[in-house]
């Protein structure tokens, strides 16, 4: 059980980290360039709407059973929420603040890091929270395709008609989701206090 919880957390943390490493920089680069941002947004949105079981089935076909397939699916689903919320956060910065940053003559990248990112932080964190919760839920399905998380306990319990195992898996997922929610809410709250 413990090892399944740890595996579940690792799966989700790695997925959100990889997705953030891709989505946040691209959102920062493209937020002011709607011509490029819109197609990417549409692409990630389309990916997001693919039913998860279908995506897993396709991945298993090409990558095989196991955690790698699950990880790829998790990243694919996490990208959209993180990308969208980062773009929205940057665009929601009051025009006066952006203008002052421009008038100071800060180079674009420095303006982004010193001014835009801190101001957009609550939105970025809420994107990460949604991505994390989505991952925790989705990683459970990974049990179907030989993934190692709590899904493996849940689906084994289901197959064996072992109610104790089934409940362990289910409660584990719920507890993780609540924990994730709590951690990110706390971070968001902190980022709102300058």
């Amino acid at each position: 059980m413990i090892s399944a919880i740890v595996a579940h957390i690792v799966l989700c943390a790695v997925a959100v980290a990889i997705a953030a490493a891709i989505a946040i920089p691209s959102a920062l680069a493209l937020a002011d360039r709607p011509r490029f941002e819109r197609p990417l947004s549409a692409l990630l949105g389309a990916l997001y709407t693919v039913p998860s079981l279908a995506l897993l089935a396709v991945l298993v076909r090409f990558v095989g059973l196991g955690d790698t397939s699950v990880e790829i699916a998790l990243v694919a689903y996490a990208l959209y929420a993180i990308f969208r919320s980062t773009v929205a956060g940057i665009r929601a910065i009051p025009p006066e603040e952006r203008e002052v940053a421009m008038a100071l003559g800060l180079p674009a990248w420095r303006r982004r890091l010193r001014v835009d990112v801190p101001l957009a932080m609550p939105a970025i964190l809420s994107g990460l929270r949604i991505a994390t919760l989505g991952s925790i839920a989705l990683a459970t399905l990974g049990g179907y395709v030989g993934g190692s998380g709590l899904g493996s306990i849940l689906f084994t319990g289901f197959a064996l008609q072992n109610r104790a195992m089934l409940l362990q898996g289910a409660f584990g997922v719920v507890a993780l989701a609540l924990l994730g929610e709590f951690v990110f809410r706390a971070l968001e709250f902190r980022s709102l206090q300058p």
């Binding site: 006066e96 008038a103 100071l104 003559g105 420095r110 801190p118």
Partner: protein
């Protein structure tokens, strides 16, 4: 240490914003000498803020040109141009997530100043605007009063030895009771800084107190420009007379204050 102050020249500059019939700035020509302090007065919507914002290219001209030290604005690299111009605006302007010192450090950091020089300069300026550095350095903007925040805004505009200073109603959000003190302080700080300054205000007394010359804006046009004395004693037109001189009593009061500031020979 300080580069020489800029001179600024507008040559038939016009700005038209899309979707608005009347131009924000119309056929405006004026010269500001190096080291001069030009006060710009006018009602809201008269184009006085637009005039400032053309110089650091927050607004682009539709027609005409602006040059600095005889070179056209477009020949300057935009970032370098803006870093050499201090800009302070009414109200906010300070970043809430940064401390006072971090707000002041934004431009020096970009210019690559060593840490020690940066800290010394920041403390020097905070002291100049009468904010004790040891107390205020690490405060956040929300822990400052309106007047204190304005002073930090002016300090930030001055921190990197700007060759030109653009102040847009820097005391607009300040309690009227505090304004005279802030104005007197600003005058001292500006004398010290020895830079060219364009100062927008809708407060005529502030303009008369601070400006070497005064420009009167009306509906996007330059209505009049001259020294406070010339404009007060011989207003060139009725509009200028109305806003600068006011009624008989106000006119006498303003001339008396001017005599106090610059006694006649």
């Amino acid at each position: 240490m300080t580069d020489s102050p800029y001179s600024v020249a507008f040559d038939r500059a016009s700005v038209r914003f899309p979707g608005s019939a009347a131009p924000a700035l119309e056929n405006l020509s004026l010269q500001v000498a190096a080291g001069e302090l030009l006060a710009i007065v006018g009602a809201s919507g008269s184009g006085k803020s637009t005039l400032l914002r053309c110089i650091n290219r927050l607004v682009e001209l539709s027609d005409g040109c602006i040059s600095i030290d005889g070179r056209e604005l477009r020949e300057f690299e935009l970032g370098a141009l803006r870093r050499s111009i201090g800009y302070a605006i009414q109200g906010v302007g300070l970043f809430a997530h940064l401390t006072v010192a971090e707000n002041l450090a934004l431009v020096p950091e970009t210019l690559g100043w060593p840490r020690k020089r940066m800290k010394a300069r920041i403390d020097e300026l905070l002291a100049a605007v009468r904010l004790e550095p040891t107390i205020y350095r690490n405060r956040r903007p929300r822990e400052l009063s309106g007047g204190q925040a304005q002073r930090v805004g002016i300090a930030r505009a001055l921190v990197a030895y700007p060759r030109l200073l653009l102040l847009d109603e820097p005391f607009g959000a300040v309690d009227p009771i505090l304004r005279p003190q802030l104005q007197a302080e600003l005058l001292g700080v500006l004398r010290e800084a020895r830079t060219t300054t364009l100062f927008v205000t809708h407060d005529v007394d502030e303009a008369l107190l601070l400006g070497n010359r005064i420009a009167v804006m009306h509906d996007g046009r330059l209505q009049a420009i001259g020294t406070p004395r010339a404009l007060l004693e011989n207003p060139p037109d009725s509009f200028t007379a109305e806003i600068l001189c006011g009624d008989e009593l106000l006119h006498r009061y303003r001339r008396a204050r001017l005599d106090e500031r610059e006694p006649r020979e």
